[in-house]
């Protein structure tokens, strides 16, 4: 393969603080192997200079570029673009060496050593550049403008509205047959069975009623919500009449107020031994309590909890409730409340605030816990996304934002992640809708470039890569050897690092390229 590198050194930037001798750098570069042209310019960012650089590249038949600007992010783009356009050079054969932040700034007080290091760094970059190969990016049209939203709860509906506002076609998958007011299609009594494909073109299989349906979509939003109905735990066993809090909310909204005392306990399973990470719907509970007291000040209302998490402005409701005479009882997980064995309408507990046992009579008992949705497991399994310790869907790196799962094109909002207040669910729903819209409205998905590739002859089909990749890009193909699904590969190289047969390489980060760079960098003595 013919290799001819053009090295462009920006005097102003790399010469900053007079730490480096750019002319010497230039000399070093021009004597290095494979360097076809080495020039130093003032302001590599200036358009005239760029034009001149590109000209030089053309008549010297340059096929790769190494530029030494101030910082990878600031100068290079303009240069790279015109280089790509005018000099017709593959975008993967252009790189910037950030001498400023790697040499000038950290070593400005010992210029001679810095110079030596800069030269070594430059040579290392040249050694690497010489070994790089031109790569192509592929792109694919998104076949639909669909966004599938799993769960027609508060979050789901908001997400649908938001995505619809952006002109996308939304499909809501709801397991119950409750009435849903949302744009787009709503599929009642349906659930996600399996998912194929990749971000931009997912193919879902949905079980709608009795029949199976295939659905294509660009993005998926998981809004499976928390679980109010599924009540396990000693309290419910002892008092089967206990109802989830939302029942009370419904009662109140339809105007009837429970007769007799009301006890709202945070969870029917205070020890949390049957269900993981239940959380107390404090906001809703306080609202209900206040509602009752306002309408029927005579009614005894008692909130029983381990922690009163009246966050933010909910603190005001907490205060209001207290003023209205709502009784608050804090108990310790180790001494959970019990239903009186003799009287089914009495709940006994040790009030941690008073350190004394108390018994409270009640007519109706409500529990305000939101348990993780048991369907999450199946959903995560189908979409191949991870779960968190609390039985919810786990989001990815915070760098990708608070509502993105590790899998591109799949978002999670509301209590599907961890119990959320109604308002927060609504907001996360909108946010998820917005992100999904952003993603799908681009209309195309790019892939390829610096991604992994398998050398079949070396592959032992040991499945290690298949098991390790967080994106499930590798699979064992028809030839019985591992292959990489380009559209799924994010180019992290985890499979490359772990392959026991060294059968996988990450383009432009191959073992040889890395070793060459490292060896030459270590070679320099300073």
């Amino acid at each position: 393969m013919k290799r001819s590198i053009q090295v462009v050194i920006c005097r102003i930037c790399s010469g900053a603080a007079n730490v480096l001798d750019t002319d010497k750098l230039l000399r070093v570069a021009s004597e290095a192997p494979y360097v076809g042209s080495a020039i130093a310019v003032d302001y590599a960012c200036n358009t005239k200079t760029i034009a001149q650089i590109v000209e030089e590249a053309k008549d010297k038949e340059i096929d790769r570029l190494l530029v030494v600007p101030c910082s990878k992010n600031e100068v290079s783009p303009a240069l790279f673009q015109s280089y790509k356009r005018k000099a017709k050079i593959n975008e993967f054969l252009m790189e910037a060496v950030d001498l400023v932040s790697e040499v000038v700034l950290p070593h400005r007080d010992e210029p001679s050593k810095a110079q030596a290091k800069a030269e070594a760094k430059l040579l290392a970059a040249i050694a690497r550049m010489a070994m790089l190969e031109p790569l192509q990016k592929g792109s694919e049209e998104m076949r639909t403008k669909n966004v599938v939203i799993i769960g027609a709860g508060v979050a789901g509906v908001e997400a649908a509205k938001r995505a619809a506002e952006a002109g996308l076609h939304t499909i809501l998958i709801e397991k119950s047959d409750k009435e849903v007011k949302a744009p787009g299609v709503v599929m009642p009594r349906s659930r996600l069975i399996s998912a194929k494909g990749h971000a931009g073109n997912y193919e879902l299989t949905i079980e709608a009623g009795e029949k199976m349906e295939a659905l294509e979509c660009g993005a998926v939003i998981v809004a499976s919500g928390g679980d109010w109905s599924e009540a396990k735990g000693p309290l419910v066993r002892a008092c089967p009449e206990a109802k989830p809090l939302y029942k009370l909310a419904q009662e109140l909204s339809s105007g009837n107020i429970p007769k007799g005392g009301v006890v709202i306990v945070d969870t029917p399973d205070p020890k949390a031994d049957t269900t993981p990470a239940q959380d107390f719907a404090w906001e809703e509970a306080l609202q209900c309590a206040i509602e009752i007291k306002k309408r029927e000040s005579g009614t005894d209302v008692c909130l029983m909890f381990q922690e009163m998490r009246a966050l933010g402005l909910a603190e005001l409701s907490y205060k209001e409730a207290a003023e209205l005479g709502v009784r608050f009882v804090r108990y310790d997980k180790k001494r959970p409340p019990k239903i009186d064995s003799k009287d089914k309408n009495r709940i006994v507990v040790i009030d941690s605030a008073q350190e004394q046992a108390i018994a409270i009579a009640f007519e109706c008992l409500y529990y305000a816990s939101i348990a993780p949705n048991p369907d999450n497991m199946a959903i995560a399994e189908a979409l191949r996304i991870p779960m968190n310790d609390s039985g919810g869907v786990r989001r990815g790196s915070m760098q990708k934002g608070p509502i993105a799962t590790p899998r591109p094109g799949i978002f999670v909002c509301g209590s599907a992640q961890f119990p959320r207040s109604e308002e927060m669910s609504r907001l996360e729903g909108r946010a998820a809708g917005a992100l999904a819209a952003q993603f799908v409205s681009t209309g195309t998905v790019e892939f390829g470039g610096s991604v992994a590739e398998v050398t079949p002859e070396k592959c032992s089909a040991c499945l290690t890569c298949v098991r390790t990749c967080p994106y499930e890009a590798p699979f064992i193909g028809v030839a019985g050897k591992a292959e990489i699904r380009l559209q799924l590969c994010q180019g992290c190289g985890m499979c490359v690092g772990i392959c026991p047969s060294k059968a996988i390489e990450l383009h432009n980060y191959t073992d040889d390229q890395l070793s060459a760079e490292v060896a030459s960098y270590i070679g320099g003595d300073f």
Binding site: S460, C462, T464, C499, P500
Partner: protein, 234 residues
């Protein structure tokens, strides 16, 4: 598959210490899959050995490469010259591979880089467990698909023994009692009668006790007339 484990590097170094030119040969088969002797491990071993020598001021040349299957003469032949030109062959394969080379080149010193541990299955990434001893007379159809020979510490044919305590083995409480598992499995299949069945003492001659085993498939075997190279069957 065959599961092996790399020997401690110190031990390996001792074995190859007397020799100048060391050829490390890995295998892309079982031992690669159980992450013990693939190309990655070979490269890392070579590199580590070089470092050790540098630290100890010893000169020794290491050269490493990997075969598709080290237990097959044809593959080994491909690297004959490398083997012959070396002072010692460090086999990063199961002992089958090592012995194949040793038998093919009797004058060559071959040292094992791995300890061949067992016939095992990968339970999950990085975890392998033994499930067969190669007794040569399989009976798992009578034990709900669970081999008591391999999975019972005492290889009992009519278990469990008195040491089985709620599902665990007395030899080591961390291992499950194979016979407890068998019982559960048979119960599941509604074949508990098989537990009652008394299994007569086993014909161990099919196992190692009958001496080294050779299996011959006449229909697959090449006749002397067919054979291209006239080497002796080892």
């Amino acid at each position: 598959m065959i599961v092996a484990e790399r020997k401690p590097l110190g031990e390996i170094a001792e074995m190859v210490a007397p020799y100048q030119k060391v050829t490390v040969i890995g295998c892309r088969s079982c031992v690669a899959i159980c992450l013990a002797g693939g190309e990655k491990e070979v490269k890392m071993l070579v590199s580590a050995m070089k470092l050790k020598n540098r630290r100890e001021g010893r000169k020794q040349d290491f050269d490493g490469f990997v075969l598709e299957r080290q237990c097959e003469k044809e593959w080994v032949k491909e690297v004959e010259d490398k083997i012959l030109s070396s002072d010692v062959v460090l086999s990063m394969s199961c002992s089958l591979g090592a012995q194949t080379i040793a038998d093919m080149y009797p004058e060559k010193i071959v040292v094992p880089g791995l300890n061949t541990a067992m016939f095992g299955v990968p339970e999950e990434q990085g975890v392998w467990s033994e499930k067969c001893l190669g007794c040569g007379d399989c009976i798992i159809h009578t034990t709900g698909g669970i081999c008591p020979i391999a999975r019972c510490a005492k290889s009992m044919l009519n278990g469990p023994c008195g040491g089985s305590s709620n599902g665990h083995c007395e030899v080591n409480l961390d291992i499950e009692c194979a016979w407890y598992a068998i019982h559960e499995r048979l119960k599941l299949q509604g074949r508990l009668d098989l537990i009652e069945m008394v299994r007569p003492p086993k014909e161990w001659t099919t196992s190692h006790s009958g001496g080294r085993r050779v299996i011959v498939r006449e229909d697959a075997k090449l006749t002397p007339h067919q054979k291209r190279d006239k080497e002796a069957v080892i």
